[in-house]
Symmetry: C2
Subunit: 238 residues, 2 copies
């Protein structure tokens, strides 16, 4: 029924005041907060307590703290990093397995691509074509590292095409956490790279005619296939 009455923790009050100032826009990204020795006086508290508040704000991803003269707490643009970090904790704690993540990713990426295809503009298609040609060139040069980088760019751009930041955030959080597995257990070679490129070509064609359902099928199939490959490798190792 009722919430626990506010605890008497001074640093919490400081956190809330600064957080509210940031969220309400009174402090915009890039703004530098006054030095600790001034802030402590403004909040009428001690430096130790003030620093505990700054530690919390830093952990929340609201500020960044730099050292040295002209250093200090700088207001950050809010991003997906804290979410990705919390998700990483869940994974490392064993609460969720790689298979759980993969299953989720297949569904999410399916929905995401469907939306992107439905909303694709001519400009989007041109952008994807540019990326596709870039990837193709790297493939011909056998430059797997840059190929992968371009592949990442394509996924990111498709996220942008949804025009929905939630999908972008979730995809990034998942990718950040799953990436190290792929790097370790699924090194790129000529065959796999070509397969990747071919899948992307099919996806691009579906996007061109705004066929969301087809695009969704293509990416889900793609993710499933590459995921299976990795699961096999994983089993082989253990």
């Amino acid at each position: 029924m009722f919430k626990k009455a506010k605890q008497s923790r001074v640093f919490q009050d400081v956190v809330e005041q600064i957080q509210n100032a940031i969220l309400s826009g009174k402090l915009s990204p890039g703004t530098k907060l006054p030095p600790e020795r001034e802030l402590k006086d403004m909040f009428n508290t001690s430096r130790g307590t003030l620093r505990e508040a700054l530690r919390v704000l830093e952990q929340k991803g609201l500020i960044e703290i730099k050292l040295g003269v002209s250093g200090g707490a700088i207001v950050k643009r809010i991003d997906t990093e804290p979410i990705a970090e919390s998700l990483a904790l869940l994974i490392r704690s064993g609460e969720v397995s790689l298979e759980h993540i993969s299953e989720f990713r297949i569904k999410i990426e399916g929905s995401l691509v469907e939306l992107a295809a439905q909303r694709a503009t001519k400009k989007d298609i041109r952008e994807l074509e540019t990326l596709y040609n870039k990837a193709k060139a790297y493939y011909k040069e056998h430059d797997w590292e840059n190929f992968l980088k371009t592949d990442e760019e394509m996924h990111t751009y498709i996220g942008i095409m949804t025009r929905n930041p939630v999908f972008q955030f979730v995809q990034k959080s998942i990718h950040d956490n799953i990436h190290k597995y792929y790097e370790e257990y699924l090194p790129m070679n000529k065959k796999r790279t070509l397969e990747n490129l071919t899948d992307f070509k099919r996806l691009l064609d579906a996007m061109r005619i705004n066929d969301g359902k087809a695009a969704s099928r293509i990416i889900m199939d793609h993710v499933k296939r590459f995921n299976n490959k990795m699961q096999e490798k994983l089993k082989g190792k253990t």
Copy 2:
């Protein structure tokens, strides 16, 4: 290419040591850490620095700190709370709108219900039937508050039926953040409650025959309809 070399922040080292101990299972949930005055000696640091580390761990949701004698830092079971909190920041900062969330929710809940239907056991169906009958009783008594509570229980149980914690986590994070909107802008009445109950009956029937696609259609339609109602109310207010 390279990562920034490790900064020389003592409290970060303390955070990592304790975090690793928790994640590796050396410290299990419920365990109480030694008092600050002992920990500070174990890490050979000052109390202020140690407390900054504890603040970070608390914010990460890894420990909980209690006051008074026999108080102290207690290892928490990792859950979805920090993710929900970070998501709340993204919403409050204006980076994501209610419509963005709703669109995402429609897709997620569709996938989630599809999985749940495919994996539904006879025990699951019995459990859902019990919940359905409970909701029906509250409907007949015009007890909207308990009806909503039971509705929430049904959604949670369907999450469990996926057997995938990622879906459970995401659904909870989204629901925690969207709930206050629904409470404020979409109060329950007889007509809406009956509509809700009818939708759930249809969902239950689809689950009974493990028809994932049908279940998915039903829930997506349900979420869309209730979301539209709320969007209208929202527009009316502004």
